[in-house]
Point group: C2
DNA sequence: GGTTAATTCGGACCAGCAGTCCGCTTCACC
DNA sequence: GGTGAAGCGGACTGCTGGTCCGAATTAACC
């Protein structure tokens, strides 16, 4: 009977290979254009392994996004103001906007999965809670949700590509919402 | 060579049967729980007929929703104030909220299809344009989109069922957004 | 009523994909 | 090395939206 505390080397190697392949493929072909088979093949691994390592497609997408989430989250939790603790609302909202902007494809894919995929997400929970904490007004909890909703990647994409709005215009609009009271 | 201007009787009959079956099934089983085969069977019709009559699933869902859309749209376009022309913003926003509230399942299903299904929709275009017309402030066009986004059925469902907010609280929150400037 | 061509019907069929299953292989601890 | 837990891979399943085409129906015209 062997108790194991370390992850097996092959498992770790495969996990990294899958993550790397998925990141590259998502970036190159767009998230929706890449199937789990594609990823398995690109990683030189069986499909079963992909599911064993990550559980399901949603979790894999989240795993690809995770490093970028963590970066922002650390800046917000322990960085210097105006983004860190005690920082201003506009700085925080802008940072969230830029985060969504940079990661639109992955976030959109996430939004598209499961009923409440966009909010249920750990990261989103954190963004919302922190936003509610910083906001002022009548119902900051509702307002925080509304602002995060306005920051949905599909919304931003739509305003840009179908309505011809500029990035800065949307940014300003979101700031306006965050200042509602 | 026979030129035909009238819709064939059987076609019209089948169309009605499909619409009726779909409405009932969506209502009873939830939209996502009903496949096109289910609908065809319930309507006593082949699947090919369903697709011939409606094109695709999205169009069928829209067709089921259409009568309810038209009702509100007529009230807004030609009814008496405060909902009709020249009416107030709060009345209009409340009416939209109630519309979404009553038709959450169908609207959610629509939101879930295609990239911009929620906005691309004829009805939504109208709601947004009309809202932008009635609003006041810096960027009424952006704000109108933001308010409609806050009225997404999945958002409202989430706030209710996962965050325990009440219907009235959300309603008040949306009104707050609409008053931002 | 009969003819005829356009229209419609229906359900077998197809394609694509997330996720499962299980016999076989590999790892790592003793 | 021996051993058994952990991992592997890829064939397989289940489900669904959408297509296809030979057969059946309809209605304009005679």
């Amino acid at each position: 009977m062997a108790r194991r505390f370390a992850i097996r080397q092959d498992a770790a190697r495969n996990r990294a290979a899958i993550l790397e392949a998925a990141t590259a493929l998502f970036d190159r072909e767009g998230v929706e254009g890449v199937s789990m088979d594609d990823i398995a093949e690109a990683a030189g691994v069986g499909k079963g392994t992909v599911f064993r390592r990550f559980g399901d497609r949603t979790a894999l997408i989240e795993a690809v996004l995770e490093p970028r989430v963590r970066e922002l989250r650390e800046a917000v939790e322990t960085g210097p103001p105006p983004l860190g603790p005690g920082g201003t609302v506009p700085a925080y909202v802008d940072a969230l906007f830029d985060f969504v902007w940079r990661n639109r494809p992955l976030i959109r894919a996430l939004e598209h999965r499961g009923p409440y995929a966009y909010y249920a997400n750990d990261a989103s929970q954190f963004w919302i809670a922190e936003l509610a904490r910083r906001l002022e007004g009548v119902d900051t909890d509702y307002l925080a949700h509304a602002v995060l909703t306005a920051l949905r990647a599909d919304v931003i994409d739509y305003l840009i590509s179908a309505r011809g709005m500029t990035r800065d215009r949307i940014r300003a609009g979101v700031q306006l919402l965050a200042a509602a009271r």
